[in-house]
Every structure is written in structure tokens, then in C-alpha cells.
Subunit: 356 residues, 2 copies
């Protein structure tokens, strides 16, 4: 069993902890938090040992009725692998802590690429992280782009990617963020940082990205153009993408016209928190015009990196090869039956039945 510590138990950390707990070859050594908020109480309910991320604040936890197992240093010393899910920039500050205990660490995409030996997307470059001491799981958008680029690059070759990222303004719980009634180029400068970030996974890729922010909270949407190295039909591309386990190719006729209905579908299916770990890619949007491929996909910013973190744990622990890890993660979470026209709803029901 790989003992995984999770430092930071917010949007990503709590999901990673639950996903780790669902793995047959992993256990949650503990989670570290800075404050005893509602999420801390849920962590305790779930039986995750709680550690104070800031030692001086340890008394706040006992004041709130939460018994802590210790401070974060003890968690780092105890864990085989640490997943750092702290806010952007804090991960880099924590780096020396993990190093001082020789505990391999996985960082999130909010950190600069320099925080780790390699950036990581399971589908694209799992082997680069194998046995590494530090790995950075790329951001939700970069993960979503990488999952599409990898098969296209392998199958057809990619001359250039041009992506417009229409990003949600904030997560549902980030109630102080905007915009409320505006469509903001963000950043106004082009290209946005997303293109260079994808290049941490595909160093030789030509990619230009444009980012915007809009008044929505549920998912990002990518308007993607890929100029391929060969002429292909939309049907051929669709077959290829259908085979990718972390891409859900939305079938026609399902009435899944946006993130609201996708979330409803996931919640109806009993998925934890209504999470959408896969790229949700509209099958009928796939179009080709000569060597130009176009498509729309929605990316659930709160959860698409979760299976990637699980795979990154196995990679740094040298516990499985890429194929084995991805398959195990998918199976335990209930990911990846996009070729099935009934979609991920049934996938989850089957996964739950298998758990009984």
C-alpha cells in the first residue's frame, strides 16, 4: 500500500484524498489543513487523519472539536508520497519541506513548471514521472488540451494548435469572483500562458492560446482548432477520440447542450460531487475542413486533474506502468466508457454495482 499524504484539503485536495482512498493499492496517510472549516469536519467524518498545516494554528482545531494527529511535518515524514494541493504558489514554498524528509511530492498546475522535475499528464508522458522525486500535474485546462493533443499527434501529426479557452469565472464556491455580466479577454495579451504550459508536456508542439473569462462557474469550454499533418475525416477523428478513456464524446440526442446538463447527468449517475473527470467533448462538433480540425469540449476544472494525481502517485512510487495505472484509476473511479452511447451514467452504475 502506498501511503499518500495530502497537503491542502480544498477543491482539489479533498477530491484527490477520496480518489486515493478508492484505490486498492493506496491509503490516505492523512490530510493537512490550515484551518478547521467545513471541509475539515468532512475529512474527519471520512476518517482521514488530520494534520495542522500551520503548527501555530493547531489549537484552532481542538477549539473546533477536531482532534489532530499532529502537524504537517509528521505527515510528510510518515507518507510515502505527498500530494500538494495548496493554493498556487504555496506548493513551491512547501517544496523544501518534502525534500527534507525525502518524500516524493506531487504539485498542482498552479505552480510554475520549475517546481518539479517534470510536468505530467498520464495519457501523454507518464514515463517521464516514473521514479521522479517531484512531479507537477498540469492544470485543468492543460490536462484537457493534452488529452486531445496526444492521440491526434500520435495518429495524424499536429502542425499547429489554436485554442480559445472560454473559462468559468470561478468555481461554484468562489463567491467573491467575477465577472457577473461581461466577457473578458483574460489575459488581454495573446498568447495566454496556456499554450506554453501545454508545451511542458509536448515540448515541440506549435500552439497558440487565447483566454477569456465569463460569468459561469461550472466548467470551462474550449473552442479548439488543430491543423493536422494529414487530411482526415471528422468520422475518423471521432473514432479515435471515442477510444480515449478520459474523453467522453457526448453522443447526439442526449440533450447535453452545456455544463449544466452535464453536471446534472453526473449527479443523477451518483458520481461523487457530480464530478466530470473526463473531457466532455461534443461529438457533433467534430468537423474537418481540409487539414483543419475543429471541436468543442467542456472541462470540469474541479476534477479533471484528480485521476491524473492518482496516476502520478503510482508513477513516482514506481508502483505500476502507465497502462496499468490508468486502467486501475479508471476502473475504481468509474471513468471511461465514452464509446458506449449510454455515456458515463451507466458506467458509474456498473462501477458502483461492482463495488458491492
Amino acid at each position: 500500500m502506498i501511503r499518500v499524504g495530502v497537503n491542502g484539503y480544498g477543491t482539489i485536495g479533498k477530491r484527490v484524498a477520496d480518489a486515493v482512498a478508492a484505490q486498492p493499492d493506496m491509503e490516505v496517510a492523512g490530510v493537512a489543513k490550515t484551518q478547521p472549516n467545513f471541509e475539515a469536519h468532512t475529512a474527519v467524518e471520512r476518517g482521514y487523519p488530520m494534520y495542522a498545516a500551520i503548527p501555530e494554528r493547531a489549537p484552532l482545531f481542538s477549539d473546533a472539536g477536531i482532534e489532530i494527529a499532529g502537524v504537517v511535518d509528521e505527515l510528510v515524514a510518515d507518507a510515502d508520497v505527498m500530494v500538494d494541493a495548496t493554493p498556487s504558489g504555496i506548493g513551491a514554498e512547501n517544496r523544501s519541506l518534502y525534500a527534507s524528509y525525502d518524500t516524493p511530492a506531487i504539485f498542482q498546475g498552479g505552480e510554475d513548471a520549475t517546481v518539479a522535475e517534470t510536468s505530467f499528464n498520464a495519457r501523454s508522458n507518464y514515463d517521464d514521472a516514473y521514479g521522479a522525486d517531484t512531479v507537477r500535474v498540469v492544470s485543468c485546462n492543460t490536462t484537457g488540451l493534452s488529452r486531445v493533443v496526444a492521440p491526434l499527434e500520435e495518429e495524424y501529426g499536429v502542425e499547429k494548435v489554436r485554442a480559445t479557452l472560454v473559462r468559468r469565472g470561478g468555481d461554484p464556491s468562489q463567491n467573491s469572483r467575477g465577472p457577473i455580466n461581461d466577457i473578458l479577454p483574460n489575459p488581454i495579451e495573446i498568447p495566454s500562458h496556456h499554450g506554453p504550459d501545454v508545451k511542458t508536456i509536448f515540448p515541440d508542439l506549435e500552439i497558440d492560446t487565447m483566454g477569456l473569462k465569463v460569468p459561469a462557474t461550472l466548467m470551462h469550454v474550449h473552442a479548439l482548432n488543430v491543423t493536422l499533418e494529414s487530411d482526415v475525416t471528422a468520422a475518423h477523428v471521432r473514432q479515435l477520440l471515442d477510444k480515449q478513456t478520459r474523453i467522453y464524446v457526448i453522443p447526439e440526442g442526449m440533450g447535453l447542450d452545456g455544463a449544466g446538463k452535464l453536471k446534472d447527468f453526473a449527479l443523477d449517475a451518483g458520481r461523487p460531487r457530480g464530478d466530470l473527470w473526463e473531457n466532455c467533448l461534443w461529438g457533433e462538433s467534430i468537423a474537418t475542413e481540409g487539414r483543419d480540425l475543429y471541436l468543442f469540449q467542456a472541462i470540469h476544472q474541479e476534477s479533471d486533474v484528480v485521476p491524473e494525481n492518482v496516476d502520478a502517485v503510482r508513477a513516482v512510487a514506481e508502483a505500476a506502468d502507465a497502462e496499468t495505472s490508468i486502467e486501475r484509476t479508471n476502473e475504481t473511479l468509474g471513468i471511461g466508457l465514452s464509446g458506449d452511447p449510454s455515456g458515463f451514467g451507466d458506467a458509474q452504475v456498473e462501477a458502483e454495482a461492482a463495488d458491492d
Copy 2:
């Protein structure tokens, strides 16, 4: 004086009527409405003769205290040119009415291109409409794209345009439209109809467009990629766009980060209804990567076609050549000092001072 009748006095019609009234060589022969709502009362206040668009409903106007000058047929008979600003699809139904009185008619972009002899954008193809009996002013988005494509095509040649149109869900007054918290590919199929519509102005242009709808009401935003036929610098493109009178190149340092502030700027400047007749194009977004040009622009869906309608009137009436008409329209409305870093705020103030 060209006597202009306006059939349909909603979002576009009321603005066109006001713009016509501001022209030294035009007058408003009258406006036709289907119902005596708030806009009808304002039209009466402004002194526009009111006609009942549906004869059977004429009594509703007198019930509402509005004296009508007659029914729409009489307006068509009296006017030199009709501007049809009725809802999409109704224009085509009105076509035979205008023809029966031999009154040249200008339709809006919501109609199919087949409604008229030519589609129209003043900057791009004014001469095609000269003396025509029927002209279709293309939609707000197509107008916005055409204004950018025309100078790029002339100066550099255009190999291909790829545009992602992040569209507002509805106008501020369309309170039953959505989405509320979603980012909808719309249409999901690619390409959207916008590309083919631009080709009604530039028949030989290669263009693919992708459309989305988001929870915003103020303006559309275009994320535009143009592959040019030659290598150019961003600075050179910016100089070129700065010279276009109906493109406001937003200067850095103005804090104009989105539609909300652009509207505030226009309202502060005293523009009628806070209208933004120009493409609002972020100067700092202009970027080139080899022959690939990228930029962001915001398009005010309620007003950017208004000066185009005014020019179309002069074209069908054979009242002025393109340069003269555009200059006259710009001067009377206060459009087009984008090369001036103080922006259109000062432009409007000067225009108003000149009116005194």
C-alpha cells in the same frame, strides 16, 4: 433630403431612426410598430410620425393615447427608402410590400442573404449596393468581422480566418433569454453560420467560425485568428487598424478590460444609449506568430450596424459615394477617432461641440 421610413422600432429600428434624424441629407418619414409599447411613446416624443405595422391593430395605438399617421403601406408609399428592422424572418415577408410600391428596402442580417440583391458592409462593398432595390446589412457579428477583414485583405492578403465568437446570451432588455450560468457551444455544429455569412461580403474568403453563448448581455467578444499571406509585425497591423474609422483600437492604460467599462466610457461620453458603433479592439491583444495574427474585439450587438444602415440608405438612393457617405455618417454620429489615444470619449464631446 432622403425620406427614410423605418419598419420595426425595436433595438435596431429606434437607433437607425435617431441616426437618420441626425443626418443632414435625410429625414425620418415615419416609423411603423406592431404595438404601442414604451418605445412607441418615445418615438412620439421624438416627433417621428407613427404608423401601425399591422392595420388591424391601429385602434390599440389610439387606446394608448398615440395618434398614428396611418398604416405601414402609407409609409412605404411615402418614403424614398425603407429600412426594415423587424424581427428575423419578418423582413422577408415584408419584401413584397416594399416592391409593390417600388420603394427600395434595406433589410437586417437576421434575414437570409437571399432576401436582397446584395449583402452590405460599408467598408467592404458599398458599391455593390449602389442603386440596388434591396440590400441586406449583415448582422452585428458579420459587420464586426468584415470591418477587420477588409483592411487585412487589402494590405496583406488573407489565407484563412478562424474566429471564435463568444456571444452575449441576449440584449439587456431580453430578460427571458439565457444562459444564466453556462458556456454553451451554439451551435454545437462547426462551422457556425457566421463564416458563410461573412462570405456574402467576401465570396472568396476562407473562413471557419465557432459560436458560443454565455451569460452576458452587453457585447459579443471575438477571439480572432487570421492567417495572412505575408509575415507582418503586430505593430504594423496595429497601425493599419488604427486608421480604420469604425474600429476603436483600445489603448493600453485606459482600464477598459471588458464590455462593462466600454459601456461606461460611452455613457460617460454622452453617447446616445451608450452605443458603441465601432468594433472595440484591444490594441495590446494584437499579436503575430509568423503569418498568424491574433486579436480580441468586442462588438456592440445593438448598435454596430446602425452606421451601416445609414450608409446603405445613401447607397440605394445613389446619394453619395462610399467615402463621402462613411465620412458624413461618422461625423454626424461622432464615430472614428481611434488613432487618438484619448479615444471616442473626446470624439463625442467634440462632435457635440460642433453641433452647437
